[in-house]
């Protein structure tokens, strides 16, 4: 059945440790992944790696799915599947253990204190995230307009489906693009 056993094994060996190394988001694994996949193992060419990076911008999902494209290149569908599982199962198991421990101790004083203590940290992180993304996205008028418009819409209409707003954002940008502004 699987004639690419050595490749599949190689994918697991490379990607499973990266799963646990992706601290602070998927982008943390790009450098080590590029080193392994392009330079050491020569699974993909430098140009292919750059193309895959670009693909991640217009497909949904975490950008570390780039690993699935490498898997696809060297071992077809099973390569993509094995790559995806290697990338997400180790970190998910760790998160599961943490979530389980967290819920098991509900109601304990330290749990309540931690929950309260995390609230301002989480708030600070999200606010910083908004600013960083705004700057990253070019920070021009149409970006700012859509951001504020979406936040107002979500506040005013509590039942609003977010999918509608994402599509609305695409339409606004498309109109601006077509108008050539």
């Amino acid at each position: 059945m699987m004639r690419d056993d050595s490749n599949l094994l190689g994918l697991i060996v490379v990607l499973a440790p990266l799963s646990l190394a992706s601290v602070g988001g998927a982008t943390a694994i790009y450098a080590p992944l590029q080193h392994e996949a392009v330079e050491l193992r020569q699974w993909v060419t430098p140009q292919e790696f750059l193309d895959y990076f670009a693909i991640m911008r217009f497909t949904p999902g975490p950008s570390s799915l780039l690993g699935a494209l490498i898997g696809w290149k060297i071992a077809g569908f099973w390569g993509a599947l094995v790559a995806t599982l290697s990338l997400y199962i180790p970190s998910s198991l760790l998160c599961y253990a943490a979530a389980r421990t967290w819920h098991k101790f509900r109601g304990r004083p330290w749990h309540t204190a931690t929950e309260r203590g995390l609230l301002p940290v989480a708030a600070g992180l999200v606010c910083a995230g908004v600013l960083a993304l705004f700057q990253l996205s070019g920070g021009d008028l149409k970006v700012g307009g859509v951001i504020v418009g979406v936040a107002i819409a979500l506040t005013l209409f509590r039942k609003l489906n977010p999918m509608f707003l994402l599509i609305a954002g695409a339409i606004v940008f498309e109109l601006v693009f077509l108008a050539g502004i």
Binding site: T59, S137, K142, V150, L154
Partner: protein, 184 residues
């Protein structure tokens, strides 16, 4: 104590995360997930936000981590597995479609413009989440100072997220300790 009203069907969890996964452009997923799980009454904001911080600090992608956290909260191991699988199902298929057709699609500026619009709307959703998370912070000097310090450390001084969280969390928890027994 555990206060789970009714068992959430696994199919509902799958449906919820499948759609989020399908439209997860630009990484602005936390807000959408927060809105879905709180508006369905699956979790309160105060249950969700610690998970949000946890998902960002633990290794792994934020979106898969928060799926596992929510799934675990709702239905244990099965819930976590279903939420994770549902979150990745659509992106996995689409990435394979893209692998075959990307050379054509990448060259179309109109498609890039639409993607940028989706990303901007996603930031707008994040702004709304930022507003709710600020509202959830207790109105006292200590927590508000921690919030501002966290924001400044990352937005102004560009310290790494993990460093900031590892420093700010113990301080914040200690400050919250004396009042920890009062209420939830």
């Amino acid at each position: 104590m555990e206060a789970k009203a009714a068992r959430v069907p696994l199919l509902d969890i799958f449906r919820c995360f499948f759609w989020i996964g399908l439209f997860s452009f630009g990484g602005g997923l936390m807000p959408w997930i927060q809105r879905e799980v709180t508006s369905r009454g699956w979790m309160t904001d105060k249950e969700f936000f610690p998970g949000m911080a946890l998902a960002q600090v633990l290794p792994g992608v934020n979106s898969t981590n928060i799926s596992v956290y929510v799934g675990q909260h709702l239905r244990g191991a099965a819930g976590a597995a279903v939420a994770l699988g549902a979150m990745l199902a659509a992106p996995f298929i689409l990435v394979l479609v893209a692998a075959v057709s990307y050379k054509i699609v990448l060259g179309v500026p109109a498609i890039q413009a639409a993607m940028a619009g989706v990303a901007a709307a996603a930031i707008g959703m994040l702004l709304k989440t930022a507003m709710s998370s600020v509202q959830a912070v207790p109105r006292a000097v200590a927590p508000i100072s921690v919030m501002i310090a966290t924001f400044v450390a990352i937005a102004v001084f560009h310290f790494s997220l993990v460093t900031v969280v590892l420093v700010a969390t113990p301080i914040s928890v200690l400050l919250a300790w004396p009042r920890g027994n009062n209420d939830a």
